[in-house]
Symmetry: C2
Subunit: 478 residues, 2 copies
């Protein structure tokens, strides 16, 4: 892939303190401090089409205390701080729009405790979901939330991530028990304990989950775990039309069948995935299912879903019978983003991410299909249809303004429609810079309340500035 | 029950604006405004032992706009506002510590929409859970959260309530999709849409769930609904010791058996319940279960639970086979609070409410048993043991200071122990005034962040003052 042109930081109004800060950090962190162009460019971008913006320097933190020390220094100098996990975000969250310090948490990889009896674990923010699940392998437990990318758990908490099995297990909102957070002042807090429920005060955990580094930096995460299901079974089914696939998915949800995964992949996506992952799936609009439970409950779920599929014209219901086949299927699904992007040399991915009430899903997908009919770039629809959440992945040339404008118009039409039917501009990717323009349409005056909260917690505005909140959200702007 | 002596409002430092406000409200709301002593006393108390404190007046609001108008007037006059639903709270939430206006929402009883396809509903804040479930009767859907009392759904959201079936369905935290809230300025916001998940900005819904009227007044609630289970089955089992009952409960949780309810009732409670509800349950330490699902999955759950019960010395496993028997059982459980209190003439109830990691539950219950050994007032243990949440209900004489001090000491010992093992001072009743003294022990410096948020959203401090946050939480106090 080509490298996009990076924005320079905005002109510094505090050049002297910033230069002194960089010196201080360099002295303190030695080879864990870097101002190299390559590293800064890597840290100023996620995985999507958004224009990068490079930080002044990158510091690799290894402890919560170090994060606190860095944030405190940045606060004193009035210099922005952007937390970096694995760099897999999709809405421009990592762009250092005003320069500043990128705090790389990827070396904070300790699994601090696993509470096998309580089905919970506490990990440092840089632990990835795959690392945690590998660690848990012998305990009979797993952490289900799976956004596709092998993201860091701190980053997943910060963007309120979810993914393929949220339909059964929920999102990071439901699965984070508590957090350790470094506040903009450098102060370290814990947002809660390990009880499954609490009514003791404001829900700070949920305030930081999804705050995208704009209120503080998450350094430790306490997560819910689940017992590995006794039986896991996966199945694929193709449909004559995408409407029928969606109708089947909606029936499954409405009957409350506790499928663990239910993914829509349109025929364009199947084609891309076949080529990228060397598979030979039928190139049809497809639903992929995964079932978790005891042998009896899985059999019951499969039977009910098979009946629904048949009623909705599903053409075949093929099981991935071995774990290898199943893993191959989900790996292919996880690589869908890269599969679409790789269809075109030097392209970048642009993934839309609306989520709507399930009753509105069929209408939204049809409307999206119509929008894509004349689209000049490769695009495919996929979705966590059990939640009403779906994506269009576009493979765009980030240097072609006309093309970006074309995709932006489609994206905007999807978002406006989703909001109009009671849905959201982003089901799981977050706001970053990419969805800022829709926040007021979605939340109305509640955006001003978000601005009040942000201004109160981060009065200097140093935490990941320019993300989530539009400028007019702040009291001073009104 | 006797009436406790009511605290008078603190001396008013703005008598003139307050008097003018009362006149304005009286003119505007006519017979929906009352300053009668009886009504004010009723609105200054919940159902527990806490000393009431009466508001200056009560206004019965019928619409969100009316609530907004009242709050705006109160804000202009700098007069406190306390929202009132059904008056069933247990931690002194309703005490008008600085006087002010009690806004009674019990006439806001419209069910605004039921989304049968999306499994959700939007109701006004005064709708009770029983009203909603009666309304849903013909839809095949239900709202599971059940704190015992027939509380208003706005009040349940405001205290982050849960109850007997949180082990399966979660708490109000997981089951509120969005809220309409009147802010301290009188401004009306919606905290979200109807999508099952969203990453679009700060989680204002979860910020207001559990905020106990200190950040705004909830006037509408959008809730998740569930399909009525095909099969519901309930069972009781007694154990030789409370330790064995708890050990069985912990095994059920750790094996991930999706019981809908799993309640501990110690022998003292069973005795009280038998007498209050004219039952003849064996007076033993008892677990009560409810199972939801298809016939096959319920049979599977019952089989697994029966095996665990047997392993842990359970003496019999008796089913409530008819719906009538089942309803009688749960009604008796719901009345447990009143059953204990009624053991003693003129007593008030005091319910402790700690919640701990399940692995710590047995130790906590034993420690609690030891504390109760010499207790001079009637007391019984009950609990939602699947969540690690349990209560001791004491029947206290609210005029006997020595007795109150004795119970307070036991309560404090329980709370301190719970916090020490990673638990919380309140699993579901909320902080009110009763748990304020433990907030900093539980949350440390995070309490200061709560104070920052409160001060930013309610700068005049008019929203239910004196609840949740200790005085030293506020920036001005530090």
């Amino acid at each position: 892939m080509s490298s996009s042109p990076a924005l320079s930081p905005q002109p510094l109004d505090q050049g002297a303190p910033r230069a002194a800060l960089l010196e201080t950090l360099k002295t303190r962190f030695a080879d864990r401090f870097s101002a190299s162009q390559a590293l800064r460019e890597q840290h100023g971008r996620g995985e999507s089409h958004h224009t990068p913006a490079i930080p002044d320097a990158v510091v690799f933190a290894e402890t919560t205390q170090e994060v606190s020390d860095i944030v405190r220094l940045c606060s004193q100098a009035g210099v922005p701080v952007i937390a970096y996990g694995t760099g897999t975000s999709l809405e421009g969250h990592l762009a250092a729009l005003q320069g500043g310090i990128s705090i790389d948490l990827s070396r904070m990889t300790r699994i601090l405790r696993v509470g096998a009896q309580d089905l919970d674990a506490t990990v440092e923010a840089g632990v990835t979901r795959e690392q945690l699940n590998t660690h848990l392998r012998d305990t009979g437990l797993f952490f289900p939330i799976d956004p596709g990318a092998n993201a860091s758990l701190g980053g997943m908490a910060a963007t309120r991530a979810s993914g393929t099995n949220a339909v059964r297990y929920g999102t990071m909102r439901e699965n984070v028990l508590s957090l350790t957070v470094v506040l903009p002042s450098g102060e370290i807090i814990r947002t809660g304990g390990r009880a499954r429920k609490s009514s003791a005060g404001y829900d700070l955990t949920r305030l930081f989950v999804g705050s995208e580094g704009t209120l503080g930096i998450i350094t430790e995460v306490t997560l819910r775990l689940y017992g590995l299901p006794e039986t896991i079974s996966a199945a694929l089914c193709s449909f004559p039309t995408v409407e029928q696939a969606v109708a089947a998915a909606i029936s499954v949800v409405q009957l409350g069948i506790p499928v663990a995964r239910m993914e829509l992949m349109d025929r364009g996506l199947i084609d891309a995935v076949n080529r990228y992952s060397s598979l030979s799936l039928d190139v049809e609009d497809t639903l992929a299912f995964e079932f978790h439970g005891s042998p009896a409950t899985v059999a019951e779920q499969v039977e009910m879903v098979a009946a629904i599929v048949e009623e909705n014209g599903g053409l075949n219901f093929a099981f991935a019978s071995t774990p290898e086949e199943r893993n191959r299927l989900w790996k292919a699904r996880h690589n869908a983003f890269y599969a679409v992007v790789s269809q075109r040399p030097n392209a970048k991915g642009w993934s839309s991410d609306v989520c709507v009430p399930v009753s509105e899903l069929a209408g939204c997908i049809l409307m999206t299909r119509a929008l894509l009919a004349d689209c000049s770039v490769p695009a495919a629809i996929l979705g966590h249809v059990g939640d009403g959440n779906y994506h269009v992945v576009f493979a765009v040339d980030p240097h072609d303004k006309a093309e970006l404008a074309e995709v932006a118009a489609i994206n905007t039409a999807m978002v406006h429609h989703a909001i109009a039917v009671g849905g959201t501009a982003t089901g799981e990717h977050g706001v970053g810079t990419g969805k800022i323009g829709y926040l007021r349409r979605e939340h109305g005056d509640a955006v001003d309340l978000m601005g009040v909260i942000k201004a109160a917690i981060d009065p200097k505005g140093i935490m990941n500035p320019g993300k989530i909140l539009p400028d007019d959200a702040f009291p001073s702007a009104r």
